[in-house]
Amino acid sequence: MKKLIILILGILVLVSCEDVVEVDVPNGEPKLVIDASFELYLNETPIEFAPKVRLTLSAPFFDQNIPEVQGAIVYITNTNNNTIINFEQVPDSGLYVPAEEFPTPQFGTLYELTVVYNNETYKATTQLIPTVPIDTIKQGENTLFNDETEIIIFFTDDGTRNDFYLFDFDFDLFLASEDRFYQGKPFNFSYFYEDMVNGRDVTIKILGIDKRYYKYTSLLIEQSDQQGGNPFQTPPAQLRGNIINTTNTDNYALGYFNLSEADKFNVTIKK
């Protein structure tokens, strides 16, 4: 729904002008960022699941490089049977991947992520959230203002539960949606690519998420988006995820631990 406002604003943007300016920004203390969103593709054969955790630090806004965190301890606990899956660092990076086979996650099981960094312990718990498959994707011919490319996503919502979805349109473009207005219905909506994507192969994903992650990603997308010329700005939010620093609560970590059932669909954008 936030997109509505943004759309209306397009009109404002047309009469306005934008330019890059130099601004002195304050610098906060670096914080640990835990990027741990896992996607489970049950509809693929074989089932696809490639969990990875990326640890970085927050940095001054204009810095080109994001410091990656090395040498942290990362593991996930299946709280049903108290088994632990250890993660190991990919050399010279902030990426951590399972050191052993990660059994396919099960619905209804609580998973706990533990990260130990700088003698402080960070924990987060999550569950696998189901999704529905993408039925099909078509390319449309509508545009909003200029030369956007329209794709139409078709899927059928599950009427037995309240669903929240995160759509991943590739190119780091996301959209969060809830099924409140299309509960249990075959539904379709259009997405508009602003930049030229003609002739490219695009993978579009649908992720099942919970309400809290829906709110988190909605804020994240809004805050990262380049909505220039917006007199209808909302005050920036403190982006608190689901990670708790159990050693020192005030030194909270950024990021999220999320586990989604997902489905993907490949399309080639026609010229």
């Binding site: 994240l220 220039g228 909302t234």
Partner: protein, 793 residues
């Protein structure tokens, strides 16, 4: 406080009979109007210079004054009009209707009449700014469209969220705290095209008054200000047409008699050109607005007048048939003026008004409608008890129906389920009494009391929560989140969910040292039962109004103001200085993840906070001569604070005061006009404002390939670069006009003369091409030349 109120009433009762029976007196009353059109005149001074007494005409041009028997010199004066001076022998009660002649018409020239706004040194009214349509039309504005709201923003204590922002802010108050009345009917959205223009057609407007403080008891329901706008009544002598062709919109207004000297009509229309901002694109996109003002008046006899006013306006946007957005106000008002006696004037109003917002998104397959409508019954009396004592009293009852939204599929294939958000119903009623009391030649008081009562009626479903607590603070994760409801309660419409009652005392006193210098002080307490749910810098047309009730308390304000007023050289120059302080209770604030759109449980996303504002205003005006204008300076602060509900909760912004997004520390505006000769007239504005409070990121982080600016500092602790610009205009009135019936003028204007790129916002994001983070400034209006042609015949 109750005790004070009893004292106040006691005082009223004591004074009233005392003044009436003290001496043999007679009453003079009547209506003052413009000779050429019979248009009644508001705020005309009816003076008896020998005894230093006087009265001012009310909103319907009526005056009444009671004086001891005797012969007097009577002087009627109104700036821009020829003084009317006559001898009067007051030996019986008399009715005296007087028609004034425009000063300009005597010279047989047409220049826009300049009923310059006069400063009333002695009246117990402060914090009021008046503007006439004439003044407004001379102020250069963007794209050359004369505009009421753009004009009042040049006054001290009034600002806006910025270019292209809806609404306006008065003395550090929010945009939803302004009571905007068009012929007494409430207007919920004052902007066209998201704030580029206001909804009032200046051709149809007679008079506007902005109350920033010392608000009389007759007004209520909004806590920051009252913008009281009166439409013209129509010419009951002859048919007249005037209009204008502008760069953005064109106007046409026709008026004339329906019965000579007894009744008149007025119809005015205004429309912008379609494809307004979008001609550069080959899509079939449109953006336009239109509005229609109508008025009928009929004089039944000397004691009875009827008025019917209407307004209808819409904004329409459509993008290639996949997105359509329509919104606007509708107002209808029937009024009956009745004179019960030569001392008792009454007005009964029956008012309907609504605000509609509609949206159709074809690419998602839905339609969305929302709105608010109200019926208002108002009965106001003005009682001219003696020359030293007048009473205003009345009752008012407004019934509201809120439609927070309905979503519907827009075609058969759409997967959208129909959903109706729960309608809400409420009634706001009030009684008031207000006295204008001249204690001595130097001291005049206006004091009154308004008692307001709000009923929230039953609705289909009301959410119920554990311990009545709709949201919790998650200690571990450190954020607020909504609690799930534990049930719903069903009500019938006649049930009462919640009621509120507030007593709102108002007092203003004026002490005049002499005819040219006075000090004034005022206090007003006000309550506001409606809240605009808006978490953006300036309101959007999509924002919905919601009534107070079980989970939202009414906003309560105390405002104090003191001022020093000086008139130099018989009002050639006037100086007004005021200091104000106000505090507001129950200002709602929003948690970080608040969603205000289509939310049936808004109580889960809001916290109860408070606000305060204080400042110093300075206004110097030159009212006469070839050069006229004003310079306004405001130094102020507007802040908000939302504490946690318990010690374990941080509230918003860690429970600390933060500047509102409409806080402007320094605000300087200059407006001047210079009349070179009858042919040429020039105007100029200069505006300087401290940049709007904003937030700069304290860092960045990456998540799932997104680069996200991190805002960890205190809210609104940074500010945008200062805003300033100069606008100029030139008006050409061709000389050949003199002899012709058709009279025209050209208005050339340049907005933002030195093309300053004023930042409307600075946005922090990653550049999509270079992948580097950058700060992007958006400026809305660069230099904009415009030309308009106005005519009348």
């Amino acid at each position: 406080m109750k005790k004070q109120i009893y004292t106040l009433f006691g005082l009223l009762l004591f004074i009233t009979p005392f003044s009436i029976y003290s001496q043999e007196k007679f009453t003079l009353n009547g209506i003052i109007s413009e000779k050429s059109s019979n248009e009644t005149l508001i705020g005309v001074n009816v003076l008896f210079p020998e005894i230093a007494k006087g009265v001012v005409t009310n909103e319907y041009g009526f005056y009444s004054i009671t004086l001891p028997k005797g012969k007097y010199k009577l002087q009627i004066s109104y700036l821009g009009f020829k003084d009317n001076i006559q001898e009067i022998d007051l030996n019986t009660d008399k009715k005296l209707n007087i028609q004034l002649t425009e000063a300009s018409e005597m010279l047989d020239e047409i220049i826009l009449t300049e009923k310059t706004e006069k400063l009333n040194i002695k009246t117990p009214q402060m914090s009021i700014n008046k503007l006439t349509a004439g003044t407004i039309k001379q102020i250069p504005v963007v794209l050359g469209e004369a505009d009421i709201i753009k004009s009042i923003i040049l006054l001290p204590g009034v600002t806006s969220g910025g270019e292209g922002a809806s609404g306006f802010n008065v003395r550090g108050g929010a945009a939803d705290q302004n009571l905007i009345l068009l012929d007494e009917a409430m207007i919920f959205n004052s902007s066209h095209l998201f704030g580029f223009f206001s909804v009032f057609n200046p051709d149809a407007i007679k008079d506007i008054k902005l109350y920033k403080g010392g608000i009389p008891a007759k007004y209520g329901g909004r806590i920051s200000s009252v913008l009281d706008i009166y439409q013209k009544e129509g010419n009951s002598k002859k048919y007249k047409i005037n209009g204008g062709l502008g760069a953005v919109a064109s106007r046409l207004l026709a008026e004339g008699p329906i019965a000579k000297d007894r009744g008149a009509f007025l119809v005015g229309g205004r429309a912008s050109y379609a494809h307004l901002f979008l001609p550069l694109f080959d899509n079939d996109n449109i953006a336009y607005f239109y509005d229609l003002n109508t008025k009928l008046n009929y004089k039944i006899n000397g004691n009875n007048n009827l008025y019917l006013s209407g307004y209808f306006g819409r904004d329409v946007f459509a993008l290639d048939e996949i997105f359509t957005n329509t919104y606007g106000n509708t107002v209808l008002n029937l009024r009956w003026n009745h004179l019960f006696s030569d001392k008792l004037f009454s007005n009964l109003s029956l008012i309907y008004s609504d605000y509609f917002y509609g949206l159709e998104l074809d690419f998602v397959g839905f339609k969305w409608d929302s709105g608010i409508r109200n019926f208002n019954l108002k009965y106001d009396f003005k009682h001219y008890i003696s020359d030293n004592f007048q009473l205003n009293y009345g009752i008012n009852s407004i019934y509201f129906k809120f439609n927070p939204g309905e979503i519907k599929p827009n075609n058969k294939k759409s997967g959208i389920n129909r959903e109706k958000l729960i309608d809400k119903y409420a009634n706001e009623s009030a009684v008031y009494i207000d006295a204008q009391h001249k204690i001595s030649n130097n001291l005049t008081l206006q004091y009154g009391l308004r008692a307001s009562h709000f009923i929230r009626f039953g609705q289909e479903e009301l959410n119920i929560y554990q311990n009545d607590n709709p949201l919790s603070y998650n200690q571990e994760l450190q954020f607020y989140e909504g609690n799930d409801r534990i049930g719903i309660k069903k009500y019938s419409r006649s049930n009462i969910i919640k009621t509120f009652t507030n007593l709102e005392p108002r007092i203003t006193l004026a002490y005049a040292f002499n005819n040219n210098t006075s000090i004034k002080a005022s206090y007003n307490r006000m309550s506001q039962y409606l809240h605009l749910l808006s978490n953006t810098n300036s309101p959007t047309p999509l924002d919905v109004w919601t009534p107070s009730g079980k989970y939202i308390k009414p906003q309560l304000l105390n405002q104090y103001a003191v001022g020093y007023f000086k008139s130099i050289n018989d009002d050639k120059y006037t100086i007004e200085t005021e200091f104000f302080y106000k505090d507001i209770k129950n200002r709602i604030d929003y948690i970080d993840s608040a969603n205000l759109i289509a939310n049936n449980a808004i109580e889960q996303d809001i916290l109860n906070g408070k606000a305060r504002a204080y400042g110093l205003e300075f206004l110097v005006r030159k009212n006469e001569g070839k050069f006229k204008g004003w310079l306004a300076y405001t130094l102020s602060r507007s802040e908000q604070k939302t504490l946690g509900r318990t010690n374990q909760e941080p509230g918003i912004n860690n429970g600390q005061w933060y500047r509102t997004s409409y806080d402007k520390t320094h605000d300087i505006s200059f407006n001047g006009s210079y009349e070179v000769n009858k042919k040429w007239k020039f105007g100029a504005n200069f505006v300087f404002q401290t940049g709007q409070p904003t937030n700069y990121p304290t860092g960045q982080f990456e998540y799932q390939g997104l680069s996200i600016p991190l805002f960890d500092g205190l809210r609104n602790s940074e500010q945008l670069p200062a805003y300033h610009r100069v606008d100029i205009s030139a008006t050409l009135t061709p000389r050949k006009n003199k002899t012709k019936k058709w009279k025209g003028e050209w208005v050339f204007s340049i907005y933002n003369l030195y093309n300053r790129k004023n930042a409307a916002s600075i946005n922090f994001a990653r550049n999509k091409d270079t992948y580097a983070n950058e700060a992007v400034r958006t400026s809305i209006f660069g230099i904009i030349p415009a030309i308009a042609y106005n005519f009348k015949f």
